[in-house]
Symmetry: C2
Subunit: 291 residues, 2 copies
């Protein structure tokens, strides 16, 4: 009897079938995601019937799901960096091994962050939309040279983002309580959160954890006309405080890839100053292939 592997993420091998080919070449029977979207608890329970392994996305892999799939289910291989959707205690109890791919997303998320910043800095989206309507509307933007960027969180994605921004000549402020200032050897300046908020022209979130970092108090400390980038998690920012900051002009423009609810239909969709992407920081051919 061949091994059966179920696929969780609807995007798995969507652009490049090499990963699927590797599985079938190894004699593995592949059970694709039949819904083309993230599975619910009931759906993943059904999807895991008669399955030996799961290539997992963000579907709920809680105790109930793992218990129902055991003892046949032996391994969960998460395609991506986050594993908050996996109940590790239940996995250990039922003998299910869990792996993830922390390296894959770094380059992709950092690139997406720079893509969003350049888009906002140069007004690409509004000028393109205007030209497609027949309007020739020039916007004077800002270059990244000498632009002061605060990176909140300087782990691997933050560091790669910083490396790219330095190539453009940006000046980096770093706030990360877990980073030794002596390790900042590329001209970055370690700052407290308050110092960083007061000095930055651009703020980019690359922090771990689930706690809200930027609430109304934090927005009040920022420069007028700041640009806020969030590729990490919606919950790091207070949504209502951000909306107030957009209304007042405190925040001139913002990019969110990680939102408070997904799919997101909230108030930011009403703001031209909000560049929004649907949690695709890791959506490159190279990154998905590597994972």
């Amino acid at each position: 009897m061949p091994l059966v592997v179920a696929i969780g993420p609807s995007s798995f091998a969507a652009k490049d079938t090499t990963p699927l080919q590797m599985l079938t070449d190894a004699g593995i029977e592949v059970k694709g995601n039949p819904f083309g979207r993230r599975l619910t608890e009931a759906e993943i329970i059904q999807h895991l019937e008669g399955v030996d392994g799961l290539i997992a996305g963000l579907e709920p892999l809680n105790r109930k799901v793992i218990a129902s799939a055991a003892p046949r289910l032996k391994a969960i291989a998460r395609v991506g960096i986050g594993v908050a959707n996996v109940d590790f205690d239940a996995a250990a109890e039922f003998g299910v091994k869990v792996s993830s791919t922390p390296d894959g997303p770094i380059a992709a998320v950092a690139e997406m962050t720079v893509a969003a910043l350049l888009n906002i800095a140069r007004g690409v989206e509004p000028m393109n939309a205007a030209l497609h309507r027949g309007e020739w509307k020039k916007i004077i933007g800002f270059g990244l040279i000498d632009t002061r960027v605060l990176l909140i969180g300087y782990g691997r994605i933050g560091r790669r983002t910083g490396e790219l921004l330095r190539a453009f000549g940006a000046e980096l402020l770093i706030h990360d309580p877990y980073v030794d200032p002596a390790s900042l050897t590329h001209g970055e300046k370690a700052v407290s959160l308050d110092e960083g908020l007061a000095e930055a022209e651009v703020i980019s979130l690359h922090a771990a954890g689930e706690d809200c970092i930027l609430g109304a108090d934090a927005f009040a400390k920022m420069k007028d006309g700041v640009v806020l980038l969030n590729s990490a998690r919606g919950g790091l920012v207070d949504e209502a405080a951000l909306v107030d900051a957009l209304n007042s002009g405190k925040v001139a423009a913002t990019w969110f890839d990680a939102l408070w609810q997904e799919p997101y239909t909230g108030p930011l969709t009403q703001y031209d100053q909000a560049l929004l992407t649907p949690h695709v920081g890791t959506y490159t051919r190279q990154c998905r292939g590597g994972m």
Copy 2:
């Protein structure tokens, strides 16, 4: 009697009044562009009445204009890199000095080129538009790592663009008949135009001159699904051949900042695959300030 300086470009000091302040602090009387757009021949002739110097944009500075402004007009200072709008023979004949600012635009144009490429590579514009319509539509794009980019023209803007692309991990092919392959010391590969067209996944134009480089023959030699970037001049590309290539899918996506006519209302405005910006490669606060 104070010196009088007329301003040509409607964008001069629009975002940052420092340059104006510098002129007035020097006791110079400044005569702003009264139309808020590029002046016609008749308008610039009128604008130059009683003027000692011109801070010039792309308005026509032909023999008739220069003759009518002389002998009072003594200097034309072009804010930008191109001086094709200036009749140098007439300027020499009437004793008018001409200067330009070739360094200012380099960083700005290179950044804009990378901004456009990242935007196309990651599908930022269509995903943002979808989310603002309430649609959660994920696109798997491509990262720049290991992406093969052909730079046609490797002068200062091409080199700066290449430097930025290398920071993202792109592989560079260089076609520039004026560049000694021995001077390519950063892993770039010198190629003939035909080799480059056949191998590149992305092609970016940074060539000087006015001759068409990419006609129907050249498109036929490109990889299917190539991305074409043009920040240099519209005339380097045959517009009809490009439209055919978009229709056939030969060119998957394109960005044009320099167009065949400006303001541009031509066929590219009908293509979602065409990212269009209104000749704003140099439109950053830093660049316009520097110039």
